[in-house]
């Protein structure tokens, strides 16, 4: 564990040096994410000017849900997004060898080696939005519920990562540009809205096969509802199962990987 932490410290250091080389880009990306947050907040503000509730949630509850979603987005953009983006290129060019030879998990090395400092600033912005959502909420939540909410938000971030890797894995066999990743990004739209709006088969899929509802909606449910522990237990169980699936698929994909070197 300590070895991984030490390694991660080096990743962060190198990423900071890299980020400082492209300063324009650094600030552009921060501004881009801030606009994304603003647009999302305005979207719900305008909706609530025309309705009293959204699938049983009040405006303040939806704002907490939204802030949780923005946290998931900002953390994954900071920690894993840049690394994951490079994986298809490395597989298709046969350049994974360098990472496979290291005495650490290849999945860890590949996905976390690029720490996005610009997005890290946005984690702070998203955290600010979360604090604002809690402070302006007319309901005061018990501390243990808030802690569970935060834990489940991190759990949701890991789920985001798991599903992205599963969507990327087909490149080992298809050698297409980005596997099913673009489709994955499209499907994340389902996670951007409260799960309560979905019904029937769609809802069933969103809480089981493609559990986008676990990302941000269920952490909010754990906060708002009485059955906090049940919801939390379900979220953790889904992530554990998906972790097993992701590792199996990744290892299976690696077996199909052919190196470019002689």
């Amino acid at each position: 564990m300590m070895r991984y932490l030490r390694l991660y410290k080096h990743f962060v250091k190198f990423s900071l040096m890299q980020a400082m080389q492209f300063r324009f880009d650094f600030f552009f990306k921060i501004a881009m994410d801030c606009i994304f947050y603003l647009v999302n907040i305005l979207f719900y503000k305008i909706l609530f000017a025309h309705t009293g509730g959204l699938a049983g949630w009040s405006e303040s509850q939806v704002m907490i849900f939204l802030a949780g979603f923005l946290m998931v987005d900002a953390i994954q953009m900071t920690v894993i997004s840049s690394g994951c983006w490079m994986i298809p290129g490395l597989v298709n060019k046969g350049e994974l060898d360098y990472y496979l030879l290291r005495p650490v998990s290849s999945l860890f090395f590949l996905s976390t080696r690029s720490f996005a400092f610009d997005s890290f600033i946005n984690v702070l912005v998203a955290a600010g939005i979360l604090v604002w959502a809690f402070v302006t909420s007319p309901v005061t939540y018990p501390l243990y519920k808030i802690l569970i909410f935060l834990f489940l938000t991190l759990n949701g971030t890991y789920l985001f990562f798991q599903m992205r890797i599963i969507a990327l894995a087909p490149i080992f066999w298809t050698h297409s540009g980005r596997g099913l990743e673009m489709i994955y990004w499209t499907l994340t739209k389902f996670g951007e809205r409260p799960d309560g709006i979905f019904r029937g088969v769609v809802r069933l899929v969103l809480v089981s096969i493609m559990p986008f509802a676990i990302m941000s909606s269920f952490p909010a449910r754990a906060l708002f509802q009485e059955n906090t522990w049940e919801v939390a237990g379900y979220c953790v169980a889904v992530v554990l199962v998906l972790h097993f699936v992701m590792v199996k698929i990744w290892n299976f994909g690696l077996k199909s990987y052919s190196s470019a070197s002689s």
Binding site: I46, H50, T51
Partner: protein, 265 residues
């Protein structure tokens, strides 16, 4: 101008070379956007005390959102940030040597992509409408005007995006500026929420900007919410906005060329 046709054919072939990707991404994107919109608005109408929101019944709202992904594809056209990449990596060199204009080539690419998106839409709109159970009133004049409005909006959006991409003459990586434009244009252009739902005061300000002419006006033309004259007026205003945007884009290009070393990074 015969090169435009030849290059256009080549571009169309290039876009269609990964046919499965092209259609699969299109189908998943459209279905996801419409499904999310369907459930979201169903929940909003259920939570509201009225059956009309922002001047739309639930059915009319669905009709609006049915056209959003299709019009979005037509207007945003090719958003691959290749212009910025060519400036950044020195790929612009070949255009400076070839007897064709870089700007014209980029606009031609966008026209080709928009034309393909229009063809896709004619198929897609009716299939999706059938699946979700909406009756689309096919009015040939609305659709014809809608297509003209889509090309005009594509030009307007294209000029804005190309100007931002040209910042690559000075900055290293500018794709985030393009993404920023997409968020702003889609939100203030009525692709996320119909503009009728915005507060009155903000709508007055918005109408003085080019954003409503990017998506909202085109969608309203297609679905017949605009009268014939309103549609014509909308297209006219869109084209009027294209002029200053094109001038800004050309000015940026000329200034950038003076800065361009041709080496690439």
């Amino acid at each position: 101008m015969s090169w435009v046709l030849e290059a256009g054919k080549l571009e169309a072939k290039r876009f269609l070379s990964y046919r499965v990707d092209f259609w699969l991404q299109f189908a998943v994107n459209v279905m996801a956007e419409i499904t999310v919109a369907y459930f979201l608005w169903e929940a909003i109408y259920q939570g509201s005390l009225t059956t009309v929101i922002g001047g739309y019944t639930f059915h009319q709202m669905l009709m609006y959102y049915l056209f959003v992904p299709f019009v979005g594809r037509m207007v945003k056209s090719l958003e691959d940030f290749s212009l910025a990449t060519e400036i950044r990596e020195g790929g612009l060199n070949k255009f400076l040597i070839y007897p064709l204009s870089f700007i014209q080539y980029k606009i031609m690419q966008k026209v080709v992509y928009t034309s393909l998106a229009i063809l896709q839409s004619f198929l897609g709109i009716f299939i999706v409408a059938y699946i979700i159970g909406i009756k689309v009133n096919f009015d040939i004049s609305n659709f014809a005007l809608g297509i003209v409005a889509a090309y005009a909006s594509m030009l307007l959006y294209g000029m804005m995006l190309m100007t931002l991409e040209m910042i690559a003459f000075w900055a290293d990586s500018v794709w985030s500026l393009g993404v920023m434009l997409r968020f702003i244009a889609m939100f203030f252009g009525g692709a996320f929420i119909p503009l009728n739902m915005f507060p009155e005061w903000s709508l007055k300000i918005l109408m003085m900007t080019p954003f409503p002419y990017l998506f909202s006006n085109t969608i309203k033309t297609f679905i017949g919410e605009n009268t014939f004259y309103q549609s014509l007026e909308g297209i006219g205003i869109t084209l009027l906005w294209v002029i200053p945007m094109a001038l800004i884009m050309l000015g940026t290009y000329r200034k950038g060329l003076r800065q361009y070393s041709g080496i690439g990074i």
